[in-house]
Amino acid sequence: MSAGHVVDAEPYEPVFTGETMAELERRFAEYPNKQALLLPALWMVQERRGWISESTISEVAAVLGLTPAYVKGVVTFYTMYHTHPVGRHFIQVCTTSPCGLCGAEDTVRALLEHTGCGEVGATSADGRFTVVEVECLGACGFATPVMVGDDFIESVTPEKVPELLARYP
């Protein structure tokens, strides 16, 4: 629910200016309407800001001719969009059945321990990591797949966790 939502920094700096706006506008040509640019625009926001705030939701709505409520309904449908700030390195671990069969939950425990996040969904005190469990990452033959930011790492076992984390200061 809206309770506990996080407020953006003030004053709000728009995302879609200059080259970012130009990039979005170039993509308009590939779709018959602006609404279709909603997912791409949200990705552009998240790539630049790390998360999607109420203010950026309003901005995206204005840029695409939608309402903030509409955009919010879409944002909250898709689990990869962050509606609150996350750690510098966002770690997603697949724990769906195929990976679960192969020890994914041990990998999660190792990640929680070595990042200092403590629990799933939490951000480490130093702001470096957030660890979440996610449903099927689509690499079931390479259990356990882990995403750190946009990096996709296959076959992560608890033993490999310290070395893996060391690559993300």
Binding site: A3, H5, E54, Y70, K72, G73, V74, T76
Partner: protein, 524 residues
């Protein structure tokens, strides 16, 4: 234009319906209600509640009646074992997280979840081992609360705002059983037509703050009426509890307002409950006004209207066709200037429905008045009133300056009024009349459609409809069988006097009204 018809059998009843009709609508024509939540005839059908699943012979799966078009020879079973099991299943799923707070829920008594559960739900829950989902109540807008826990996610409200109001301020947020109806921080549910989401909500999830805990549904008396908010003429129901109006609801009329009404009209009912009413006829004697009986009052009115010269009528745009017509007829001996008051305000269309808006003419019967010889030239009539021999004020609301001017008129002043006002002390005669909520009558909307409204509450004190007063005067002094005794008779009397209303009757207007033959003379 001939439409291709198909014949289907629903619950053993054969019906012929136009090709393309959905099963749910065809069933309605066969007199069968297919239980449903998300479907609404004025909204696009998403087929998500899955309550209207019916068994269609030869179809392997149950089909949603709300989006499945009928086919020739189709045989539909609404109450087969399979269909009933599916509905019982849906009801159980809807109830696992629904609070059992009916005793404090405004929807109780008119709740479709209650009704269908009573009909076909399980007697006891099988969801015993877990707490119900809990979320706090959200404030959605000036008049609307969202009780998240009661929501069954039918999305009628979201679709109304998206597709009918064309103002997508509501959404479905999140996924799965975490989903709820959401709103953006900065955009409230304050659209001029937003109150309709409360009507559309089949459960007590979206509720009106104005009606909050005011009455239980089963305590309400409901009366068919017409909204007085503007010249659109939305069909409404006036709902009273113990003779007090507690809310207004839209009443379906596909040609006028479909299933909707605006918030301005919806919330404009408190005047119907005003207590500062003129309770008895007041007759001027010297410097004093004394209460009198109707016989005396009508005799005096007969004297005043029996003269000649110039007369002015200043009428409310809420006055009925019957009252406007007979009051004007009562002054036939005079050279009459009749004007109707038309307050104005901004127009607020309901974008998704053609020809439906809160109109800038904020009076329900301007167009009826015009057909009865009243003009909108209020200022002209007020000027004329200054020197006229007789001025009749027919329940018009006046500002302070206008009241002052009426105190200075040269001729006789007669007031047919509902509430007490200062300028009444100048009047020869003050007669208590009913509000529209206390009488039957007819209004003509901006499209020339004559529509009836019914008496929703008792008249205050000795108040009588204005048409009754005028009818008695027209019939002459003494007991008179010719004077109209009912609004229906008064309406027919008006029909004999004014060609625009010839050959019509309350009965012929029915419940949905009728467009008048000629609309010439209607100022647009």
């Amino acid at each position: 234009m001939t439409q291709e018809l198909v014949t289907v059998t629903i619950e053993g009843a054969q019906v012929q319906v136009p090709k393309g009709t959905t099963i749910i609508e065809a069933a309605k024509q066969a007199g069968i209600l297919v239980p449903h939540y998300c479907y609404h005839p004025s909204l696009p059908a998403p087929a998500v509640c899955r309550m209207c699943l019916v068994e269609v012979e030869k179809a392997p799966k149950l089909l949603p009646a709300c989006v499945t078009a009928v086919a020739e020879g189709q045989v539909v079973h609404v109450s087969s074992e399979r269909a009933k099991k599916a509905r019982t299943g849906v009801l159980e799923f809807l109830l696992i997280n629904h609070p059992l707070d009916c005793p404090i829920c405004d929807q109780s008594g008119e709740c479709e979840l209650q009704d269908y559960t009573f009909q076909e739900g399980r007697a006891a829950t099988r969801y015993r081992d877990y707490p119900k989902r809990y979320n706090p109540v959200e404030d959605f807008g000036p008049d609307i609360l969202y009780v998240t826990n009661r929501c069954i996610l039918c999305t009628r409200c979201v679709r109304f705002m998206d597709d009918v109001a064309k103002s997508a301020v509501l959404n479905v947020s999140e996924r799965g059983d975490r989903a709820f109806i959401g709103i953006a921080e900065e955009q409230l549910l304050d659209h001029p037509w937003s109150g309709n989401v409360v009507d559309l909500c089949p459960v007590g999830s979206l509720i009106s703050k104005d009606f909050l805990h005011k009455a239980r549904a089963w305590e309400l008396d409901k009366t068919a009426s017409i909204c007085t908010g503007c010249s659109q003429g939305c069909n409404i129901t006036i709902e009273t509890r113990d003779d007090a109006v507690v809310r207004l609801k839209p009443r379906p009329n596909m040609d006028v307002n479909r299933h909707f009404m605006c918030d301005t009209g919806r919330l404009d009912y408190r005047w119907m409950n005003r207590g500062d009413r003129i309770e008895a006829p007041l007759l001027r004697q010297g410097t004093k006004a004394v209460a009198t009986d109707w016989d005396t009052a009508l005799d005096r009115l007969g004297q005043l209207t029996g003269g000649s010269g110039r007369a002015v009528i200043l009428a409310s745009g809420r006055a009925s066709v019957e009252s406007l017509g007979l009051v004007r007829a009562m002054l036939d001996g005079f050279d009459v200037t009749a004007a109707v008051r038309v307050p104005t305000g901004p127009e607020a269309p309901l974008a998704g429905i053609p020809n439906l808006a809160l109109r800038s003419e904020r009076a329900p019967n301007v167009h009826g008045a015009e057909r009865l010889g009243y003009t909108r030239d209020w200022a002209g009539a007020l000027n004329a009133a200054g020197t006229a021999d007789l001025v009749v004020v027919l329940d018009a609301s006046l500002d302070a300056e206008e009241e002052q001017r009426l105190q200075e008129v040269k001729g006789a002043l007669v007031v047919l009024g509902t509430v007490v006002a200062d300028f009444h002390h100048r009047a020869e005669l003050v007669l208590p009349v009913t509000t529209m909520a206390e009488e039957n009558g007819v209004y003509v909307n901006r499209d020339g459609r004559a529509q009836r409204y019914m008496q929703a509450r008792n008249q205050a004190g000795m108040a009588r409809p204005s048409w009754w007063i005028a009818g008695e005067v027209l019939a002459g002094p003494g007991p008179d069988a010719d004077a109209p005794a009912t609004a229906a008779q008064a309406f027919e009397d008006v029909g004999r006097r004014y060609p625009a209303f010839a050959d019509l009757s309350h009965q012929s207007l029915g419940w949905v009204g009728q467009t008048l033959r000629e609309t010439a003379g209607t100022a647009r």
